[in-house]
Symmetry: C2
Subunit: 358 residues, 2 copies
């Protein structure tokens, strides 16, 4: 995407945790701080954007917060010259998978962020609102805007009991493979809801729905966040080039907050999300095809006499099952690099729409 | 370049050491081995190519060697299915910048490598031959082939007293900015010499000369090595597609060693090196332009009254000098990402030639 990136690793793992086994080390808060101090002493902290993701402890979250705070202070005289995208990685599907003290640590640092990217469960943790409908999802976003003074929010991967029925009349799917689908075979949809607050703190909510692919992928949250960094900055520059010059340039406006006159569907955040989801849908679609081809290359277990034959029957069965799980996980690895053209040139199929919960 | 890469960091540094100050940590041999064990236990070691670079201790070099040996054993039944490119990072310009025991550690593991990429000084360390002419450079390459049984060698950045005069009649430079140059202003050339051994262990030597850019860049060795991985593999596949089928496919031949009938200039290694140097020359040329623009943006020290004014004059002078050095180093950072099109689509200007030292 053309972004020069200085990556500060918060873990050094052999693989992602979807494999259910991992070796390697986690960075301590002190190591994270040291690396940043190293950048600083050599005048290497002139970053336009910070993207922060998983941090392995509350202290590490605080260390990331200190980095962001320092970068924000440095940019204080030049509004818009620094932007922090914070992915508050705490859990998913109703389960916290970090230590409990990470949650208050995030609540402490989020007021310094410009954009937060919680999933549905993380939005519940941050807002204190149990999300069971699009209506109280809007409430949760409003609370996040107002409590943490975060101007931009995207809630990724919203799955609600009502999502499918509410979406049937609004979603516009033009995928070729969907043309022959019926009511019964229509894929489930995944809803992404975003908002940029107005000057009075009220939300401007937009919604995009994409067909959900029938596969469990790891790393899609990181993919979403990284693409959003590139596309949001791009959309802000586009807005400035198309603007009527009645306002100062958006890129020189604190936190890139569009004037109140800009409707939800025209927000740079909404435009960016359209492109991000288009790239992701393209890459994940390719991944599924390549996953199936890879799995087809493995011989079935009952024909594979070479493996684990020294083990007793029960243990051999367990070993084969474990290997099958690991192979399936590997086969579903997102094919990012080989489909980089879909990152650079997304084919936009799913359009953003404004959405008013009341 | 389309290669999916699993990066195993041997250091976690805030910046490269060209800044003369750095913070961060080095991976221990045990950490390196652990990460590889983590990959292995989840069936994630199906690599086509291993590229190894700087390792921070003799034990770390040995750990990298164990990884390569394990990957080689796993691929033993399928010749050509695994290839190890080893950059024996030990020193430069007559100076060893690793601890002394790293040198014998490299000598121990190099016999398992398929391609080694020493610079001139490292070629001297490995061969025991002081390189003062193209003739004894050829001797050094022959010794490396024969002593370590390494079939492919590229000696990067050769600078010899005789290089300029010997090159004037052979080099073909078509750069636009060189058209008006005279004998006096002709840039110095940088010579790259490579060889793939024949079945009797004798070398097939090729040479490429490129104009040397008047700038010190950091990381060009890593850039050369990484591009060589992608381009060599590509050249091997091209050779197979163009071959007459009288031999087994090169990509299924151990160490991708071309038949003895292939002349030096037609080696996949030579074709790859042409593309690599074309990409590098393009990216580094762009980097110089952008470096100059960046340096022009800094105010001169005597107009910059805001900095270090609290310091006594002598200390202020030292602080300004240090900052100027750091700014110059940053300004010369290779502009890789923004010129990725030059990596993918090199403009080949400098052609390989066969070279016989006798």
């Amino acid at each position: 995407m053309g972004c020069d990136v200085a990556a500060l690793n918060t873990v050094h793992f052999s693989n992602h945790t979807g494999y259910r086994q991992v070796k390697g080390t986690k960075a301590t808060a002190q190591e994270i701080t040291e690396l940043y101090d190293g950048l600083k002493q050599s005048y290497l902290t002139d970053f336009d954007v910070l993207l922060s993701g998983y941090a392995p402890s509350a202290a590490a979250v605080e260390a990331v917060g200190h980095i962001a705070f320092d970068l924000r202070q440095k940019a204080a005289k030049k509004p818009g010259s620094f932007f922090w995208v914070l992915d508050p990685v705490m859990g998913d599907q109703g389960r916290i998978y970090v230590s409990e003290d990470v949650v208050p640590a995030y609540k402490h640092i989020i007021p310094f962020a410009d954009l937060v990217l919680p999933n549905q469960f993380e939005a519940e943790l941050l807002s204190g609102i149990k999300i069971t409908s699009l209506s109280n999802l809007a409430d949760a976003i409003t609370v996040i805007h107002r409590t943490y003074h975060v101007p931009h929010v995207i809630v990724t991967s919203v799955q609600l009991p009502s999502t499918i029925s509410s979406s049937s009349s609004t979603i516009s799917m033009s995928t070729a493979d969907n043309s022959s689908s019926t009511q019964e075979t229509r894929p489930e949809t995944l809803t992404v809801i975003g908002s940029t607050s107005k000057s009075d703190g009220s939300p401007r909510i937009f919604k995009i729905e994409v067909p959900q692919l029938d596969c469990f992928f790891s790393g899609t949250g990181d993919m979403f966040a990284a693409l959003t960094v590139a596309r949001l900055r791009e959309a802000v520059f586009v807005a400035d080039s198309e603007g009527d010059n009645s306002n100062p340039p958006l890129r020189e406006t604190a936190a890139w907050i569009s004037p109140d006159t800009v409707p939800a569907s025209q927000l740079p955040l909404a435009k960016a999300t359209e492109k991000v989801l288009a790239s992701m849908h393209g890459v994940l679609g390719k991944t599924m095809v390549e996953r199936d081809a890879e799995l087809a290359r493995y011989p079935p277990d009952d024909e594979d006499t070479s493996s684990f034959t020294e083990l007793p029957v029960a243990e051999r069965k367990a070993a084969l099952e474990k290997r099958a799980y690991l192979q399936q996980t590997k086969a579903a690895e997102v094919r990012l690099i080989r489909n980089a053209n879909l990152l650079r040139h997304p084919n936009i199929k799913f359009r953003v729409e404004e959405w008013s919960p009341r």
